[in-house]
Symmetry: C2
Subunit: 528 residues, 2 copies
């Protein structure tokens, strides 16, 4: 018997590999790329291969374990120097679909914004020392004028006594670094640093403690009406600069009210939404004035509250969400629950109010899709993992994170059939220790199965992955199958699986396609 | 519109979850468990839950990040103290299907065996110092009597000069720890320690350098006919003690010859196989004499060589494999290629000789299934990952590792349909840094898809996971879906997907079932 020819084997093999790859969402396009797209894809693959050998090597001082897709907090400085990153920074990203408003603006900018307002006060539970700085969380909030403090330094304050933020900074103990030391201290409690993520806090449970604390500090700064509007403007501005053309942002309404200009905690949610809408309108007007209206197609809010309340308390939030949807039908895009899935309540805990919420929508003629966080966990069969079943049974429009989705063959099929996109947040997952690096991340599993994915930054102010360029970068360097065409498909899908109505979506997609071709032209030119 | 009742939702939910879980191979059994099996499963779940709270806590000195399924090398001492491990140590494991002979005996035992033979000599490339000990690999091999050295210490030897092993040990520099320091030095080069796996070498590429070195040292000790037989006896004995009842072990025939008793490197592969067969026969006779023949159903060899040769060189090994199969039809179970998939040649490199090998088998009326390593990688679309396509196209009977299989929806379907079991080696994967811990390991993905799995130890002498109890332990603590019933199914499948013929398999399975029921009785009794 003569052996089958190698030629026969190779053609069978090509068909076999192609058959599986055809499941991927960009596959059909691969044979219909414009010349520029094909060339741009080749250029990017070549640069990736070159940089794998020149940048991601062991020659970096103080970085003993360097590889593409390595820990983000350690490699960020290296990433920004790569050609690949600088290309991706210019890529039109489509929509940002999974992001929490409290962590969307560079923390130094936020602090600078707050320092313009004398109403802000700060306090600490015990006097600060060099040793206690790292573990002492600052508490910041605006105070009514009648209660403004005359103290001029945290050193003069008794434990728990409020000090004006401006004075606390100006007169911060020189032994602790003076005003710059103050900034570093506050910033340290608004962000996660490499030593925490990869050293002292390196399990998911532990880093979540630190992570949750950053929101305690940040919300004290953001929940102030005079900050709220410029903060949102800044968020929109930087997102647009990164090539993001549409946003669905999660806002946590758990606090029920924020502080007004006079320092009273009385501003209800409808005022927040109204200011959000104003920030959006003003942004769009500004772009129009510049003749750039096509770069940004709007922003909407996914109403969220925290998965720590009782089911009865949840009813209040659901009712508020219904009321906001009635008042702001174009702004309220969906409903979600936030907070650490592994330790807080699973969706099933709220099944009664959630079912009632759906019935009330039908009565009121509203449509507020669930867009649930689910499966942001390493568990297999734990309540956080089981959230995936409930999210899908409850008809979730997309899945937030879905990190454990790969463990669910039937749910993956359903996502594919019904077009339930997964909002994947690779850098967030890595810093929160669900994965140690990008090559270990399950994203390629989801992509290879043909499930639509939107890449998301989650909490970039905390993680340092502002915009979407970093997440696209990490995904691109961790797979040989993935190329620029894949990233284009992910960007396209982020618009496709948004809550935009058909007309608005069509417009946003057409504008994106135009920018995409221009971008590919530019990248292709690099290869010439 | 009234909301659907919670009751309705819950029954729909149960059916939904059950529908997906029904894909798992143990699912059908869950409704047909004996009382003892059901109780044993409950007892194990209870102990796991208790120990998650009492053992896997932060109260352990010098272990700042403790959790179930954490890094094996750090947690081994904790694991052996758990009730759960002590239960699993008694579990009948079924077959060991993925293990490399060079790493199957405790390295201290191996060293002790070698020290009985004056023919063994040792040398180092430069004189040893406290500082160089860690990085200086000992080279050990038998020497013909005429070339025995008169030197009595490594200190007296010039660089590269041979010293008798016994003398080198007896007179090892007291400043380096004397004879015990010698043992520790050699053992350090035969094993991977936590500092290497999780510190100095913590990427897959780097730890593979160390890993490959352990085989250089080990093969010098094992490739000596007077060691070979007792080594294999020891391997069988300890495996049987761990509850393993059948073995398919990979032997690396890359060296072509081993040393005879006189210290000449002339013993051909057929002699190795003959001695293997003798060790097996003697083991079985001994068990029979003890009335324990039912605990062990044989051992076979998967012929392997290293994926670094040229295709022409490969022909020689394939021919040898055919010849060995003709001479030892019951012993030679299959063919495989070994070595670091990420850096050495992929299967496609050998497509011509491999296709010819299959044709030759047909001519000769032989059946030597391929049992290929494939996908032992973090890559997505890299040559090591693409090995999975070739392994399956070439008709592999099982897949060794298949770590990246989860990235292949079509290949997973094929594995399920055709009954291609995956030999998963969770502890090996973790130490070789494909995963940082068990909760990040893709095994639950494979199990939830209903693909048959055999748990394997791979290279336990290097990793310290002797037997299969450790691997079963790590898998059990990292999933809430998995229970004792799952482990039973994995053990059963290890026999089911072995190369045993129908009759032998039937006998082995029947014996296993009997032991399983006894084991469950014992475990169930713990709950009373």
């Amino acid at each position: 018997m003569s052996p089958p020819s190698v030629g026969e084997y190779l053609s069978k093999r090509d068909a076999f590999i192609n058959d599986e790859r055809s499941l991927r969402r960009e596959h059909a396009r691969l044979n219909a790329l414009s010349d520029a797209e094909a060339q741009a894809d080749t250029v990017v693959r070549q640069i990736r291969a070159d940089e794998a050998k020149t940048i991601w090597t062991d020659d970096n001082e103080n970085m003993p374990h360097v590889f593409p897709g390595m820990e983000f907090l350690t490699s960020r400085d290296l990433i920004v120097k790569t050609k690949l990153f600088n290309i991706l920074a210019k890529m039109p990203k489509g929509a940002l679909l999974h992001a929490h408003l409290d962590a969307m603006v560079n923390v130094r900018t936020l602090l600078r914004l707050a320092l313009q307002h004398p109403a802000f006060h700060i306090r600490v539970p015990a006097s600060l020392t060099a040793a206690s700085l790292k573990t002492t969380l600052p508490e910041v909030r605006p105070r009514p004028k009648a209660e403004w403090s005359a103290l001029s330094s945290l050193r003069d304050a008794a434990a728990g006594e409020w000090v004006p933020l401006q004075q606390a900074r100006a007169n911060f103990d020189p032994a602790l670094g003076g005003p710059e030391g103050f900034d570093d201290w506050v910033v340290g409690h608004l962000t996660i640093n490499p030593a925490e993520a990869y050293g002292t806090h390196k399990t998911t449970d532990k880093i979540w403690e630190k992570f949750a604390n950053t929101f305690r500090v940040a919300s004290g700064l953001i929940r102030y009406a005079p900050i709220w509007y410029p903060y949102i403007r800044e968020f929109f501005r930087t997102s647009i600069d990164d090539g993001i053309s549409y946003i669905e942002v999660r806002i946590n309404f758990g606090y029920k009210t924020m502080f007004n200009a006079e320092g009273y905690d009385v501003v209800p949610a409808r005022e927040w939404v109204r200011d959000f809408e104003r920030a959006l309108r003003d942004t769009q007007q500004e772009l129009k004035d510049q003749g750039r209206q096509d770069v940004f197609h709007g922003a909407r809010i996914i109403y969220t509250t925290i998965r720590m309340y009782t089911p009865d308390e949840m009813e209040w939030y659901l009712d508020e969400c219904l009321a906001l949807k009635q008042e702001f039908p174009d702004i309220i895009a969906g409903f979600d629950l936030v907070g650490h899935e592994d330790s807080l309540h699973p969706l099933i805990h709220y099944i009664q109010p959630l079912l009632r919420f759906r019935a009330r929508q039908a009565e009121l003629g509203l449509d507020i899709p669930f867009i649930f966080h689910a499966g942001e966990t390493l568990g297999d069969g734990t309540p956080a993992d089981v959230n995936l079943y409930d999210a899908i049974l409850l008809g979730t429009k997309r899945i937030g994170h879905g990190f454990s989705l790969a463990k669910h063959p039937k749910l993956m099929e359903i996502c594919k059939e019904r077009g339930i996109a997964v909002e994947m947040c690779p850098i967030s997952n890595e810093i929160l220790r669900l994965t140690s690096s990008m090559p270990m991340h399950p994203l390629p599993i989801i992509v290879n199965h043909g499930i639509p994915v939107a890449l998301c930054s989650d909490d970039p102010a905390v993680f340092g992955n502002m915009g979407l360029s970093y997440d696209y970068f990490q995904v691109l360097v961790a797979s040989e199958v993935t190329g620029l065409t894949t990233l284009g498909q992910i960007a396209r899908d982020s618009l496709e699986f948004s809550t935009l109505d058909a007309e608005a979506k069509g417009k946003a997609l057409a504008a994106w396609e135009k920018r995409w071709q221009e971008f590919c032209n530019e990248v292709a030119a690099l290869g010439k």
